[in-house]
């Protein structure tokens, strides 16, 4: 972010408030060219579309809580925590401390994400891009994906999502991501139905 001309203070505030890595990166070129604010918002919403899916899915588990609490729990959702949360619910759908589990994990994730993000902002010029350190983040996601793929429908859906995402990579606003999720979920759903019918 700093390398594309955003001030250090602005980059830190943006990270603390928005807590959205890919939306922040997608919005930067728009900000650099002083695009209209509504376009910045629309872009960030589109890049964040997968969180709508996460929140719709988690919604029923937070049903008994106050609106304020639900809003903050929703804000804290991240890819990693959501994957862990759904793995837990797969094992124990009615786990009594699931809200505490989610809140604890999600707030730790928020904190460490912010700490590393701020270190990154401050050290932006010190770490050469050529080290490829960002691959470590991808490897973390692989460790989360592998245990989810033990069932055929999930494996099929993930494969379709991966291929779609690669093909649609050039689409603007990172639209390939929600599109890939949509295709993947649809295929997983169909495979699951067929397996149950067989």
């Amino acid at each position: 972010m700093v390398k594309s001309g955003l001030g250090v203070t602005e980059a830190i505030v943006l990270s603390l408030l928005a807590y959205a890595g890919s939306a922040q990166l997608a919005a930067l070129p728009l900000m650099a060219s002083f695009a209209p604010i509504w376009l910045v918002i629309v872009t960030a919403v589109i890049v964040n579309l997968r969180f709508v899916v996460y929140s719709v899915m988690a919604r029923s588990h937070f049903a008994g809580l106050s609106t304020t609490k639900r809003i903050w729990l929703g804000y804290l959702v991240g890819d990693i925590m959501f994957a862990r949360f759904s793995a837990l619910l797969e094992r124990e759908p009615n786990y009594p401390h699931r809200v505490a589990y989610y809140f604890g994990g999600a707030s730790c994730n928020w904190m460490w994400w912010q700490v590393s993000s701020i270190i990154g902002i401050l050290a932006a010029t010190a770490i050469p891009i050529s080290w490829g350190l960002e691959l470590a983040g991808t490897l973390t996601l692989i460790a989360l994906l592998v245990p989810l793929c033990r069932q055929w429908p999930v494996l099929a859906g993930a494969a379709v999502a991966a291929v779609t995402s690669v093909i649609a990579h050039g689409l603007p606003f990172r639209l390939g991501l929600p599109l890939a999720i949509l295709f993947g979920v649809a295929v997983a759903f169909v495979v699951d139905r067929r397996r149950m019918a067989a």
Binding site: A20, I41, S55, W72, G132, T140, L148, S165
Partner: protein
């Protein structure tokens, strides 16, 4: 980029965060979704992860590189194997990065 514009944009991106992540929770039960769709959503996390991972591993800069000149997908495959064998996230990250750097050095990239 230090004018008020930047701060408005920061507020706007924050608003987008709340709309997408908290919106469904705020609406709660008022948001009606067909049960079939609801049951399909349990496949979403794995699909989302796969959709994020695949381009990360297969693209080098802006171009798709599916050959052995791209160490990223090989490191990713190795990391998945390490995880399957050890069930340890730390081992997966350390092993994957080690293989990535070795391949990079070996390929001279």
């Amino acid at each position: 980029m230090t004018e008020p514009y930047v701060w408005w944009a920061i507020l706007g991106i924050t608003l987008a965060t709340f709309i997408t992540r908290s919106g469904p929770h705020w609406l709660g039960e008022r948001l009606r979704i067909p049960p079939t769709f609801d049951s399909a959503l349990r496949f979403a996390p794995a699909c989302a992860l796969a959709a994020i991972i695949a381009p990360d591993l297969l693209f080098v800069g802006d171009s798709l590189v599916l050959t052995f000149e791209n160490p990223r997908w090989m490191a990713g495959l190795a990391a998945a194997a390490v995880f399957a064998a050890t069930r340890s996230m730390i081992a997966t990250i350390v092993g994957g990065m080690a293989i990535f750097w070795l391949l990079k050095a070996w390929l001279g990239a």
